[in-house]
Amino acid sequence: MALTDTDLKRLARLARLRLEESEITGLQGQFAGILGLIDQLQAVDTRGIEPLSHALDLGLRLREDLVTETDQRARFQSVAPQVEEGLYLVPKVIE
């Protein structure tokens, strides 16, 4: 299965990747290779097989509902590019 330019741009947008026009042709080839592998997987007869959600055959470990974390804001924010009044500042986004 081949991907169109539009498909590829949409995927890039979903993954928040900037794509130069010059990269598109090369990526189309690489994607075709990946999708070929998936086609191979899709061809396997999986009737009667329960879908696998995790590679480990174990159950989830749970924790008790206790507050165990202390305020580490100053340390976390020491590596943030920009903070103010305790908030992390980011480029403005409004939907």
């Binding site: 959600s53 206790l66 974390e69 976390f76 500042l89 403005k92």
Partner: protein, 478 residues
């Protein structure tokens, strides 16, 4: 054209846990920005989520309370999208196998009960908060809410009007607060609804194109937003237009919904099982243990109040509006010789009005069940009239104290002895001979005039029945 409205709700209930769903950070509301956001909530490299047992407990409670199926094995999935208040770039949610499936909610409309089917309820984490006020053209991010546990409860499209949708949301709110899994505080965002609304010609079986209205955090906005959206869709179709599937936002200031994003720009969330989290196993023993701790549910208690105490559906509904309301009523009953109707009237009347006036919840009532009970006892034995009771209630509310002591100190007892009443009546008759003559000439309306005057003369304390009897007898006599 006769249109049928079809509505389904998705409700996010914030679960009442102390710590977050996948980390040990606190969930308390109102903390300074980011002091309750730990390394896991911030998605720092190398951290792993560990599920909070209490959050699962809440989901089981909800499943049991709605007669739903609780999955013995459910899966956490990643819902992928980019937004600055979602540090991981994905929200941990459940997709293919949710913890709770099916179930029903009863709603009540004009005395009729309707069953609303639930699709599912799944566990997920909340995102942080973006503040778009001016930070030099930047947005401020507070991640205290990131990782707060939510139960997303999805209804089938079984609701047929804005009124039904609100009744369902209220019933759900009552249930989640009743079973203690959510504090229900809508101002703080602990309980918020998204509404899927569509219309179709009555009789048509396929659904119309729906629009989703996001983030309705009050019952009033829920109702108004749906009403607006129904009008908008019908007017659009009748004018020859087509409804486009999209997400809309309600603007309460202008009372309208506005397009937020259309289906073409709709996110593709690329769900997949989260490799950081193994399947969640819930065994029968765990469910049994939760079942053993369940309180009597509101619908069951409402039904019991109707059967056991002979209350109306409405009264029983008011008394089971919250668990604290029901406990107040049950505590009050024995003080008033188990006169359920009298207790119901006072709780839903004077007490509720006073609470409402001061914006208090019943657990913060200034008049305790014991105090109110003391008052009701004196109405029952005729010491005070219902009207005096209301005055006494106001005094109890404002100043506190005990009914008996206040009746004594302020002379609120009814005047029931015949000779005192006769004295009042006779002096009135002497004062108004013309009216006496009119009454005796057959003008019975004048009777009310005497009742009013006598009540006034007694300072409102005359026992109404006794007074009527005395008046009738005296006025009749030549």
């Amino acid at each position: 054209m006769d249109w049928e409205v079809v509505i389904g709700l998705e409700t996010h209930a914030q679960l009442a846990t102390h710590s977050k769903i996948f980390s040990g950070a606190a969930t308390a509301f109102g903390a300074a920005p980011n002091v309750q956001a730990c390394a896991v909530d911030l998605a720092l490299p190398g951290v792993l989520p560990v599920l909070n047992r209490s959050a699962v407990d809440c989901a089981i409670r909800f499943g049991l309370a709605t007669g739903a199926a609780i999955a013995s094995r459910s899966i956490f999935a990643r819902k992928n999208y980019f937004y600055p208040d979602l540090p991981k770039g994905y929200q941990i949610s459940q997709f293919e196998i949710p913890v709770v499936s099916g179930g029903t909610m009863s709603i009540e409309l004009e005395g009729k009960v309707k069953q609303v089917r639930l699709t599912r309820a799944h566990l997920e984490e909340d995102a942080g908060k973006s503040l778009h006020e001016d930070f030099h053209g930047l947005s401020g991010i507070d991640l205290n809410r990131a990782g707060t546990p939510l139960l997303e409860i999805v209804s089938e499209p079984d609701l047929r009007s804005a009124t039904e949708a609100v009744a369902y949301a209220r019933a759900l709110h009552r249930l989640v607060t009743w079973i203690g899994i959510c504090d229900g505080n809508m101002q703080e965002g602990s309980f918020r609804c998204d509404a899927n609304v569509s219309v179709r010609p009555r009789g048509q079986s396929e659904l119309g194109t729906r629009c989703e209205i996001k983030n309705l955090n009050s019952f009033r906005f829920l109702e108004k937003a749906i009403e607006y959206e129904i009008r908008r869709q019908i007017e659009l179709i009748e004018a020859g237009g087509v409804v486009v599937q999209e997400t809309r936002l309600y603007d309460p200031d202008r009372d309208e919904t506005r397009s937020m994003r259309s289906k073409e720009d709709a996110q593709d969330y690329r769900y997949f099982p989260d490799p950081d989290l193994l399947p969640l196993h819930i065994d029968a023993a765990w469910i049994g243990e939760v079942q053993a701790r369940m309180p009597e549910l509101p619908d069951a208690m409402q039904q019991r109040f109707i059967e056991q105490f002979g209350l109306s559906l409405y009264d029983a509904g008011v008394l089971t509006a919250s668990r604290s309301m029901a406990s107040y009523f049950l505590e009050l009953l024995p003080y008033a010789a188990n006169d359920a109707k009298l207790c119901a009237n006072w709780v839903s009347g004077e007490l509720s009005a006073a609470l409402h006036r001061e914006g208090l919840e019943i657990q913060d009532s200034r008049v305790s069940p014991r105090q109110l009970g003391g008052l009701l006892k004196r109405i029952q034995d005729g010491t005070i009239s219902g009207k005096m009771g209301k005055e006494l209630f106001d005094i109890l509310w404002r100043e506190g104290g005990e009914a008996d002591a206040l009746i004594e100190a302020r002379g609120l007892q009814q005047i029931s002895d015949v000779s005192s009443l006769e004295g009042i009546v006779e002096s009135l008759m002497a004062e108004y001979p013309a009216q006496v003559a009119e009454y005796r000439a057959g003008k019975e309306k004048v009777f009310g005039f005497f009742v009013g005057r006598a009540m006034k003369a007694s300072g409102g304390r005359a026992n109404p029945e006794q007074l009527n009897a005395v008046l009738k007898q005296r006025l009749k006599a030549e």
